[in-house]
């Protein structure tokens, strides 16, 4: 357990992320000259894969049959998993009057983002972890499975409203990795005795196949609008409209695409195919041609894995000990279902806030979270997890840790 906790802390250092997490964005109308915000995230979520299995990919070790069986039991027909590792450093300057306007400062930010999401069938999980022997005499169906992954870096410049803290920035992106796969129709049937196999496959896989670091570029925006809403009691609540990394990426290095729409039946080679001058190993046609797989090079324009989040945020200036926050978050990905969340923050002391939240959706299902925020003069350090069960239980389905460090001058 200690190792797990330490890992989460360390991971959060490696992946200080953007502010899409539930560690509440606090609305602060105080004015100050400059602000540094180092935020980060490591979030793995799954609907069906238990931490006992996923943690082996993090720490290593043998995945036993018991571990596989426990996760397999949790699987339904179609399952989701996703990984979001990001880090971002933002500098805000509110001393200058941008464009000669007293209420406008500027913001500069940069960060590293790695995003992977997948929809997959239970049979695909079984095939990967058990092999095809467990499917003898029946179909292994992996239709509808898909995945996408992208790693990119960002640098952005924007304007910020000094008082409301609403801000917008225009960002440039460097794409360093990209891959995507989609199985529209995929079935593997093997006879009871295992002496014949039939594969139905309609799908494609594509990836940026060059070795260069920069495989493409993109352009996008970050938006953070805060709208005050006057409540009945005369109090004001702030609704935040937040969008991160909304934009397009153009992968301009060679993208290799393998695609096939084929049915293959195989019950073994004949001796003539294996020996003699005309054997398949001497054939001029490639194995891909033999299998009916087309290989082409393409260029690719696609959405960045950005997100939109709308919700009520915590107001620093509010004197109440207890404040609520809630909202919804959406990614443009079929592997991610819109996530709704709600929580409360309790101000225990002037220097310490504690919070708890519950969420449903995203890459997984129901999750509970906790956070704490320490404020020390010009420093503020927040640590949070959106998946409390995942931290403490091997039966949890995912890990989440968020860290934010703020320095106000």
């Amino acid at each position: 357990m200690m190792r797990l906790v330490l890992t989460i802390i360390v991971l959060s250092l490696f992946s200080v992320g953007s502010a899409q997490q539930l560690l509440p964005i606090q609305h602060d109308t105080n004015t100050y000259n400059q602000e540094f915000i180092l935020t980060g995230l490591a979030d793995f979520g799954a609907t069906s894969i238990e931490n006992a299995l996923s943690s082996k990919f993090l720490f290593g070790g043998n995945i036993t049959n018991e571990i596989k069986d426990n996760s397999l039991e949790k699987h339904k027909g179609i399952n989701r998993l996703g990984l979001d590792i990001t880090s971002e450093l933002e500098y805000r300057n509110m001393k200058v009057n941008l464009f000669g306007k007293e209420n406008l400062g500027f913001t500069v930010k940069g960060g590293y983002y790695s995003y992977m999401s997948s929809l997959y069938s239970k049979d695909l999980f079984g095939l990967a972890f058990y092999g095809n022997e467990s499917f003898l005499g029946e179909n292994a169906d992996f239709s509808g499975s898909r995945f996408s992954a992208m790693t990119f870096q960002k640098i952005g410049f924007g304007v910020i409203d000094k008082k409301k803290k609403s801000n917008v920035s225009l960002n440039l992106y460097a794409i360093s990795n990209y891959s995507e796969g989609n199985v529209r129709d995929g079935k593997l049937f093997q006879s009871d005795s295992g002496d014949s196999v039939s594969l139905t496959f309609d799908g494609e896989f594509q990836y940026a196949s060059t070795n260069t670091f920069l495989k493409g570029y993109g352009v996008g925006v970050d938006l953070d609008f805060r709208i005050p809403v006057v409540l009945k009691e005369g109090k004001t609540a702030y609704i935040q409209f937040l969008a991160k990394n909304l934009g397009f990426a153009h992968v301009n290095s060679t993208v290799t695409q393998y695609s096939a729409d084929t049915v293959l039946n195989f019950d073994g080679f004949t001796f003539n195919q294996l020996i003699g001058d005309a054997n398949i190993f001497n054939a001029n046609s490639s194995i891909l041609d033999t299998l009916g797989i087309d290989s082409t090079s393409i260029t690719k324009i696609r959405f960045l894995p950005g997100f939109i989040q709308i919700g009520k945020i915590v107001d620093v200036m509010n004197t109440s000990k207890l404040q609520s926050f809630f909202g919804v978050r959406m990614y443009p990905s079929v592997s991610y279902v819109p996530m709704i969340y709600a929580g409360v923050q309790y101000k225990t002391a002037k220097w310490l806030d504690l919070g708890a939240n519950v969420s449903y959706g995203g890459f997984t299902t129901l999750r509970f979270g906790l956070y704490s925020q320490i404020k020390l003069n010009k420093f503020a350090l927040g640590i949070s997890s959106e998946n409390l069960v995942g931290i403490f239980s091997s039966e949890g389905k995912g890990q989440s840790v968020i860290l934010r460090l703020r320095l106000q001058l």
Binding site: F59, G131, Q190, I374
Partner: protein, 536 residues
Amino acid sequence: MMNVRKIVKKLNILLFIGIVILNSCHKEKTTWNSDWVTPLINDTLSLDNLVNDSTLSEGMSSFYQVDLTRTILNLGIEDFVSIPDTLITHNFNIAVPSLSVPPGFSIVNEIEEHSIGNNSVQLKKIRVSNGVIKMEVFNPVNTKTFFTIQLPGVSKNGVEFQEQYEVPGGTNSNPGTVIANLDISGYDILLTGVSGANYNILQSRLLVSTDPTGPSVIVTSSQVFKVNAEFKNVKIDYARGYFGNLIISDTTTYNIDFLNNITSGSVDLPAVNLQFEITNGMKIDAKALITTVSNTNYVGNTINLTNSQIGVPIYVDQATGSWASLINSTTSIGFDGMNSNLETYLENLGKSHTIGYKLEMNPNGNVSGGWNEIFPNSRLKVKVKAQMPLTIGADGLTLRDTFDFDIKQDLEKSHVESGTFVLNVSNAFPMSSSVKLYLMNSNGAVIHTVVGSSEITSSLYGVIDPIDGKRKMNSEINFVLTESMLNDLENITNIAVETQFNSPDPATSVNSQVLIPIGAFIAVKLKANLVLKAML
């Protein structure tokens, strides 16, 4: 405030420790095992390809018969007679010092004779099946001239060869020239010369005419009218003459690679009848002599085939008739268990066979008056024929063959940890066999031995399948690949496959001769059950 500072300090220490622990944790790889089954081979082996291939016949019984016919020597006209590329030059000049020749005047030259080939073959008549004459005609006078070239004795469908060329004017040093290629395929060429009693003689005659519409021209004796006729790539399909005392002899050794793989055991074959048949479609007498027949087996044991006719000349008559009525003469030499040691010879399973022979044409010289003839369909053939029931007795007959092996796997990455090859066999041959695999390193040392879990059982132990009426026996043989074998894959460079054959009688379990039924087959399905260790 002090408490907070302490907290931050402790947190920094925890982060450092965490990094160290995590770094050490990452050294271990993520692993899991999965079980995979894949078909590898699905095929049926039978003797069907050998039926109707002059090897096996199905005959009247329900068992195969060996009906082997192989041609070991096949000679035709091209092996006895050939026309080399030959250049004939026909020069002509007038006998007087100078002559004024009016327009249209012709000068006829006498027939000239030209020798072709050499005198070891005395050709009197040939027919060209394919060939070309390259003609070069040279005119030394300064007006155009007409050359008529005749080849007496060269005709096609009764029409004598004649070509006329209009050659532009020239000088003696720089004559007017015409070059033409003429196809002479199908031409008969009589080579008996002007006298009609000679051989290897080609005739030619040249006629030169001045231009009938031109001026008179002065011709001197120093001006040479010249024709070059070059016979190129001439093939013939008929020849008559005396073809000489041609002797073809050789001692050849040929290997049967398959039998080179035998390492032990023996076979028991039935009585065999082996015939050498010599057919002569040429009108030439011949004499044949088998000088030696021997074989040497895998342990170096040599057996000589013994028979009263080995080493004794055998005279072969010439064919009779001609062209479409040509009738071959046939001479046979028979070997069987009564007149030779043929059975012992074959059961020696010789991997290396040596046969010595001598074939002499016109052994008595030119006794035909120069009337040897070879027609387009004339062949001199030596065939070997064998007939016997396909009956084999195998007693521990062991064959071993070694193959290169170059499959490696990185044990630090995902790899096959262990596995089993499962061989399912349906055997309709009345023989059993067991298989062993020897995994060897580059020094030839056996590192591991994979022994099949059981043998491929003879069909005689099976039952008759009511669907196809064939007796067959099913067997399943497992070849287990252990983890240590697969770990040594890096060092394995060769695999030797050793198969031992037996033909046990189910009643006595004693190996005995068995008849191979028509349609016998062995259906093979090989699949692999593999344990894959994924490593990430």
